[in-house]
Subunit: 225 residues, 8 copies
């Protein structure tokens, strides 16, 4: 076992060995962390020259952090912050992820996946608002669907889009249920169950609204030996 | 209030006024009823010359009843029994219901709807095994979808078929979730929630595996003033 | 496949083919959409002379939109906005929908159905606050119940009204469970399950609080060939 | 504390003080008890001359017990066994319980309540198969409903009967949801929630299929000082 | 059917026949009603000299109503409002309800039951904060428990109090689960299920936090013929 | 890391290091294992002279194993098998576990805890059938409750026993919910939630029907440094 | 749209275009299909020389089919049948899937994934019975974990294995919750939720017990452009 | 029964006998109590010289109390207040509890356990932010894990930490699921189920976020005779 697998801050143990083991640095999930804790963490990443990625960070928290870390950037839709870097793409240019979303209200989750892929140096394209209620919006985009290495489908409500997309392509599909819906949607449960019960085999589902997790999984798929 | 709204048998009160009020006779739901009770009920319908329709009747129960009521017919898939009648169609010939089902395992529920419509004198057509995993099976049938007066969609698993169909047609869609699935399908809950959260508006959902209810609703829709 | 099935705005793909396919224009569900997105969408509808219908739009959002689109009208109870039009009724004058609601607190959902029908050019009548705890309120209205082409029942709590109404009429019943209740009501779940398990066959259920969906379904039923 | 509050058998502690405290003897719930345990218990009741009441006892278990205790009687529908006694009625003759049930399939639960009341020496009347789908069956029985001291309503499916009955009478209503239903009924959950959310105040709900508990509660209500 | 079973206001149908049928006047559940609607309703009750009882009314709503109806009283804990009346007790002086509660946080629900009984002219006594964690608090009060005609048990968390109380007395027990708890309490679900599964038979359960319903049921029990 | 932390059989990796790490040998959970797999495992334990403990083993499976391993003993109630050993008690004689159960139907789970403690060399006493419906059965046993080092409470239905016991003693209480109940008990869920929401602090809950886990936890508590 | 996207049998529409679109042939899910239907389907596959793969087929069904199709092979653990083929591996020899399972009872699901990969021509290795209760069993296998292109983790109970594995490797992890557990496991729900909430990002979850879906997803990942 | 088992304040019955029975004083759970009620209670504890411990008290409530009780201290993370005391440790110096937490967001719950142990005079050590996604953080701390008398594991999300820790040690493990997570975490349900289904036997689970209960249980374990 190697000596220094993690860095002990006063509020957290940063897993500095994660890049070696898993291929990406530890990412900071912000809910439940105080400004002071976040500052300590940001400071550590900055000083150790590691790429910092903050997820689920509310704008007013970001704005406070920004005062101490003026280089920090923010993606409003995705509620994500990071230090901009000159990452060149990790994979050959034609290898990319396509992010497909069903409705306008699913876009924030789709954008979290997009930002995650950006930070990881993966090329991503978008195909938004192509829900199955008007299926032609999807069908005319079949060439786009077929040329992606991996597809992330982001959908709320009945989440029917995941099955339809997966039935049209060879590439692996990552399904992200969203909490977009009401009533018997039960905050995303309906979409989650729909995606887990897909009639089109070969879909990997992540947690409700977990655009970040979908981005990491897509990155790992492209990295697969 | 009119005198005789129901007939009092020793085991049941038959609602003999239902046809006048609702447009169809009382239908007998068999689970939980003994052979003796069913015989009493059959006898009543036969003697009062009312059309009898028995739903969810297991084959071995039917076979016992058949001994006393040799004219009784059985639809094995639908688990339904009835006395055959010379019902002429209630509506003009082009007015019909289309029953669409997603997978082979959904057929028994689709057939229950079909038998129900038959007994009620409504013309019904079938379009089975057109689930969205291979969406062309559905798309090539768009003319069939468009010429129906009303469509019953029967689907288990992700039940995505209901949204896709409803997005393609003008006619009202009745969605029947089925218990066909496993694991996180929770005996039909996943399909039910998916259909209730459809992104294509204008769908009326009935209970899980309730082909009978879908048939009645379709009949009422055709009868609407 | 026809050329232009949808209009690509920067934030949404408007399904401009929906009227041809489904008989009604795309309707805009507002939660999760920003003011800027809504303005873009309103502008598109206005310029392309399509009837605009915005659902679940909070009053303060409406008031901001109103500044750019002074003709926009708002129904406070239904939280719906639209441009007023001279729609003449689509169906012969006696064909109408009756909207029945159980309690005062169910009225906003009932009104969403009412506004939806108005926008679609369908005549609708109202019968509010006739819950079964005092069943005479309902029974004295049987003539009203019987002359409607289709009935929308809006009810929270035990939602018993749907079964009682459906047992009294020939016309199809659309049931809308509401989130009106507390404790073991679980935000509408109790009403939803009650309506799905109706003992009076021939009811189509829509999502909790989905007055809009009920309106569309009623419209489609009247339009059925 | 008095000396002997319970009798210690080798398999159970019989609460022989219950009659003094609660007004009725301990009742034996049979699931999970072996024949040998039941024999020991029967023997104790018989020898100590206490009235024995066995609930949820399957017929084949009863038949085995019957060999050792030939006086034991069985109610097949209610799945209950007891030693017949010359109980005279506990209350004046006009004080009685009315047991109302919605459908034929609810009868076994209604009968469990009926047998329980019999064993306790309470007069009970029955009004079965009066579900709200044909509400006249109930309305013509309003005099019967009004003259009962307390009403037990037994209903599955949407359980709408409880609210309708409670809205018609002065007497307290005990509601027993049954597991009679399928699909989104979830083994009685739908009926239970419906009854807990009644729009007609003054209903006490017992567990699903718990006819016994309803009987005890009705008895306690009649006994109330 | 008698002519005037209800009064038609512009926002509600007041069930003015309820006292005759059920023994108590219609009670107004306030959530979801606007100030204007409440004023109309108050005005009707005042002018028709019916006793008004408003439940679940927030203090600031009450204070607005108070301006138009200066005689209106408010019980802060119970969040209930009413016009004070010189109700003399309906029953002989020793017939009373005992309201037992488990913890301090359950008191608002207990008070709603208390106010309800007051308004109905029923004598009620209180025994608060006697949860089973320190069971002596309850046991020393057995004489109090035994002399009540009916007991209302109000408890959150594990709701164990209902079973313990019911095992000590002859009188009927009404159990009110409260939403007092956290985590796996799921807003009262744990208490509700506990009370429905009581090992001490003869308990009638009402909805979570439904002190009002418990009061009505207790009143009906005392009124039982 | 030490060389041989586990033994690799063809069907399982036996964790032969568990005794050193956790203080007890690996225990074999039988559901889902074939006879052949169980024979391989038994053979390994026998030959390596490790104490074997098989949980949840059905009688007919045990009887087949018995043919190859004639020394194997079986506890019918607990459905557990083991090789008898001359374990002397691990702790001083007054240190013991008390197993308290609510009803007769909870005894199998209580016995699984009892057998587990026996196999581990821990003295255990029993106090069965002392549910709170007749609380005196429990209260007269307070001396027994107070002299145990740790108490395991096994209860189904409302599981109120756990709170009452924990409020009477200094020792830690382990609560085992059982699946004993019906209807809204949901196979043990009601008991589980009740125990997790105990109003008497200091209770550790294990899975539904998990007598084995309770036994292990009690053993670990006695072993605590 | 190409002419023949599917083959119409009398009981099913076989999606004969799936290989072209998705990279694998239609697979036959057997529950709910009759022997006659399965024979028709087998016959079609055999005559059209397509590879046949039958999932969830019970042994006695297989044995009946075997009479007509003597070449059909069966994997008992996985409950899968197929015609053996000389598939050469689709990918370079070092690219392989590692199937990791937590306990012996998870093996049937793991085997379903294994058979699926075999049929698809993908090399798969196994690492069974390495649950985290004895974590060394997993840690000594880190080299094996690290050299796989993709890992399928199959686990029931707490399903903690998925997170631990994913935290150790660069490759994508597919998590398959199993129904192996009892009590509060709720037939796999506990494992499913655990895997969806993994603290180690980059996991794609499939339905409970869905070894087949995991195999397809793994195959698609290896095939990713 | 001894005379004064509790002290009757106007708002609460303080269980002043709890220390004698259970080994610790009554603790005050603050949600739902008014400032006035809390002041009465504080005053009682202060005057009767009992150690006061207030849990789940929001800072602004504390600050109001502080004005009347200036000695009152507050732990912000744990949201707990108490009068500082010179408690010497209750146990020999090497006997201590180790509190292990998975992520930064779990710290408030861990701190509630820590403060509880402090108030009870029990030595506690902390090992925070050692979740299994980077398992080395935990493994390098095995000596720390092994020398504790009892371990409290606090974890949200998949809660996998509990099983891994319990598989490494002899001491009893108390598991505290936290509500830290989102989507399919359902406010702690996922963590709770995971911990109840642990594959490493001997874990006692407390309610979601119940750091206090874990502290009490740990104290009782150390106190076990």
């Amino acid at each position: 076992m190697r000596k220094r697998a993690f860095a002990k801050l006063n509020c957290a143990n940063i897993d500095i060995d994660r890049y070696r083991r898993c291929g990406f640095e530890e990412v900071v999930y912000c809910p439940g962390k105080s400004i002071a804790q976040l500052e300590t963490i940001c400071d550590f990443f900055l000083r150790s020259k590691r790429p910092l990625f903050l997820t689920r960070i509310e704008k007013h928290i970001y704005e406070k952090l920004k005062k101490s870390f003026p280089l920090l950037k923010y993606n409003t839709l995705a509620r994500a912050a990071f230090f901009p870097q000159k990452t060149k793409l990790k994979f050959k240019s034609n290898r990319h992820i396509l992010i497909v979303s069903a409705g306008t209200a699913d876009i924030p989750v789709a954008e979290e996946a997009f930002v995650t892929l950006n930070v990881l140096g993966v090329k991503a394209r978008k195909l938004y608002d192509v829900g199955v209620a008007g299926i032609k919006r999807l069908l005319v985009n079949q060439p786009k669907l077929r040329c992606a290495s991996c597809i992330i489908v982001v959908a709320g409500m009945d989440a029917a889009l995941a099955s339809v997309v997966s039935g049209l392509v060879k590439s692996p599909v990552i399904a992200v249920p969203t909490s977009c819906g009401y009533g018997a949607h039960f905050d995303g449960l309906a979409s989650l169950l729909s995606m887990l019960n897909t009639c089109a085999a070969g879909i990997g589902v992540v947690n409700i609204d977990n655009g970040f997790g979908a981005g990491i999984l897509a990155y790992k798929i492209l990295s697969a030996k």
